[in-house]
């Protein structure tokens, strides 16, 4: 979806996700439930970094996950819903 909006790729998730995942996260495989495209986390489109990281399917823009760093917490949603995990990093 080349539209000129500034975005990164999923390699920028190596730092923030490795704080809450014990394994290297960017090689993780993900399948989009919307358009069935699949591939590594590193290939997803990442918007942000502020107010937070929004990670989307390169094919259809479905939200794979969202990450917000807030004080001593990292908030994480998986998928397009709104149910968030709040991890303490302190």
């Amino acid at each position: 979806m080349a539209d000129g909006t500034v975005r990164l790729d999923g390699n920028c998730l190596a730092g923030p996700l490795s704080e809450i995942l014990a394994v290297e996260p960017t090689t993780a495989w993900w399948r989009c439930p919307e358009c069935t495209r699949s591939g590594p986390l590193a290939g997803l489109h990442v918007y942000g970094p502020e107010p937070g990281l929004t990670v989307r399917c390169p094919g259809c823009s479905y939200i794979a996950l969202r990450l917000v760093r807030e004080g001593e917490h990292i908030w994480l949603t998986v998928g397009g819903g709104s149910g968030a995990f709040r991890f303490s990093t302190a």
């Binding site: 918007y47 942000g48 937070g52 823009s61 939200i63 908030w75 949603t77 709104s82």
Partner: protein
Amino acid sequence: MNSLSPGFRGRRRSLAERLPPGQYPTESFPVLSAGPTPRVSTEDWTFTVTTERGDTRTWTWEQMTALPQQGIVQDIHCVTRWSKFDTRWRGVPLDAFLEDVATEAGFAVVSSYGGYTSNMPLEDLLDGRAWIVHTYEGYPLSPEHGGPARLLVPHLYLWKSAKWVRGLRLVIEDEPGFWESIGYHDYGDPWREQRTWGD
């Protein structure tokens, strides 16, 4: 009607007094994105108000621009700490869309083309404090800044002012929006520095 909003009075205050805590002034207009920029033509654009009972009323672009328009001069404040003084807009106060709506709802969820949402108490959208705007500094609002039309609620942090606005859902119970559901403050008053959920 072609009035200037109360924010115009702010010009008599010093810039320091107009800067909420923790903010810095900027001349630029940064663009923050949570997804691809939707391209919505004015032919396709609609704005729909849905009540808590499911009743709807929809305005086309032509109908929206036929409503009484206001010139608006307001300071805007982003949660990422930049503030911009005396931004000039043109649009329709939310009162015009809500005046004939029968509701007992206390809250509103604003939705956008592209899927973004933000929530706020309904009263924050009334009494000339919020607008659907389509013109910025004399030009049609660009897609990057939310065109063809966005919400403008300048007394709250700018994430509340949903770009590419397409509707407003009135609800009895508050529902967190896109950023409010992942750590950002439910209300977002810049003067009380309500940035995140713990503030």
